[in-house]
């Protein structure tokens, strides 16, 4: 497949805007209604080289910054939450590999393959029997024999599990390792057996197609990242997830706000000069959107600085608290904005088939508090707040 590799940030944001307008937006309602994979948008991402935008230029990738990746998630989120979330999750997996491959020749080769073949990477982090704690695994890497190992993992959700080319999976380091002693393994679909479990008919984010799977894999041990997962989680997976997800949610909320604004403008044109109660509500809504935007932008700026120049600080408890709070705050505020937009538009916003509909936005945004349950994050934060100093 021939691929026009994006060069840098501008190329990524330009591609994301174009794909959002030409592929994500026109299919968003159909993707949502049928809970189907946003294949048009993802195919367009492949053709534009977006799937390797975070791979360093030294390995042939786009070499884009986290800021550009976040901007791309935001732009797609304004058109189709599911497409944006698929991109966000893929970028998180690539970011983890780029940041923590630690000179591994196998992972460098794999990232070159991502560039050449535009591989879509998903994650298998949640697991039955861990109570939603991603820092614990039941599944373990088997005792290696002739450099080969295997695992079997029961995952309650694997986003785009039917459509990904490879998976980054958390497992215990060895059969006798403690539940928290985890590693990340990258396995290709052809090295795996993915057995679907249950159905996928959720309230929102329907196009992410995230049913459960039993994942079985057999692989050479060089496909295990040598850095412990606890460190990868602190430095990359958790903060990057929270930064990119929150940009998706901001995109969804921004589109809901834009639809409310379009509704008010249309009403104002119909009755020029007459008082418009909806216009006041819209103004109130703008301050809610601004709060969300401020939190999301500030966190992005902070992560961009830390990952490039002060990575050790990402492991400090005060920093972990900060990025956990981003997730909680953004996931609670995005549905507030979407619901506010519905209140502005009234029945025409409530109906699913008007230019001012925000039902999909509201439903999509309500998934935010479940993606790593806020309650669990609060529990972690409650503990960290006892010891951290400046937060």
């Amino acid at each position: 497949m021939s691929v026009a590799v994006t060069a840098g940030d501008e190329a990524l944001t330009e591609a994301a805007r174009r794909i959002a307008a030409e592929f994500a937006a026109p299919n968003a309602d159909d993707v949502d209604r049928n809970a189907r994979f946003p294949r048009e948008a993802v195919e367009a991402m492949r053709e534009a080289g977006v799937l390797s935008s975070l791979v360093p230029t030294a390995l042939g990738g786009g070499g884009a910054s986290v800021a550009a990746a976040a901007e791309a998630c935001f732009e797609l989120g304004r058109s189709c939450g599911a497409s944006a979330m698929v991109l966000a999750m893929h970028q998180i997996q690539i970011g983890c590999m780029v940041n923590h491959l630690d000179g591994s020749a196998w992972f460098e080769d794999y990232l070159r393959e991502v560039v050449a073949e535009q591989r879509l990477v998903a994650s298998i982090t949640s697991e039955v029997g861990t109570g939603g704690d991603l820092g614990k695994s039941v599944a373990a890497v088997s005792e290696p024999a002739d450099g080969q190992a295997s695992f079997e993992k029961q995952a309650p959700t694997v986003s785009y599990g039917e459509y990904a080319d490879a998976f980054l999976t958390t497992v215990r380091r060895a059969p006798d390792a403690d539940g928290g002693d985890q590693v990340l393994v990258l396995t290709k679909r052809e090295q795996m057996e993915m057995e679907p479990q249950g159905t996928w008919d959720p309230l929102g984010m329907r196009g992410t197609c995230s049913p459960g799977f039993v994942a079985r894999a057999s692989f050479p041990t060089e496909q295990i990242l040598s850095t412990p997962f606890a460190q990868i989680s602190n430095e990359s997976m958790t903060p990057l997830s929270h930064v990119l997800w929150s940009h998706v949610w901001l995109g969804i909320a921004t589109d809901a706000f834009d639809r409310a604004r379009a509704f008010v403008r249309a009403a104002a044109k119909r009755k020029p000069g007459e008082p418009l109660p909806a216009a006041i509500r819209l103004s109130e809504l703008m301050s809610e959107l601004s709060l969300l935007r401020a939190e999301v932008s500030l966190a992005l700026e902070e992560y961009g600085t830390l990952i490039s120049s002060d990575r050790a600080k990402l492991s400090e408890m005060a920093t972990i608290l900060r990025f956990n709070n981003l997730k909680i705050a953004a996931s609670e505020q995005a549905p507030v904005v979407c619901q506010g937009a519905m209140a502005v538009g009234g029945i025409v916003a409530y109906k699913n088939d008007t230019p001012f509909s925000v039902g999909r936005h509201l439903r999509d945004s309500m998934s935010a508090c479940l993606m790593v349950a806020n309650e669990r994050i609060h529990k972690t934060d409650a503990s960290l707040l006892l010891i951290a100093k400046e937060v």
Binding site: G135, A318, T380
Partner: protein, 80 residues
């Protein structure tokens, strides 16, 4: 100092093994200390030695072994 550290670990780290079987450089997380338990260890250390750790010290790697904890305590002024 290390005896007092071991005492704190015994009471708060909830290890899956007896702390006396571990060397000063053994990885406490691999011995079963959870993130949540590690916070209780930090609080108990601050209390026992009457010190406050700096934010820059409050991270996983600083509390991963008895040796690294001893190093952190010296950094905030506890004599070796």
């Amino acid at each position: 100092m290390k005896d007092q550290i071991r005492q704190v670990i015994r009471e708060h780290a909830h290890l899956s093994v007896d702390v006396e079987t571990l060397g000063d450089d053994a990885d406490l997380y691999q011995a079963g200390m959870t993130s949540h338990a590690s916070v209780n260890v930090m609080i108990a250390l601050e209390d026992t030695f009457d010190v406050e750790f700096l934010d820059s010290m409050l991270k996983r790697s600083v509390f991963e072994s008895i040796d690294s904890i001893a190093g952190a305590l010296q950094e905030v002024g506890v004599p070796a």
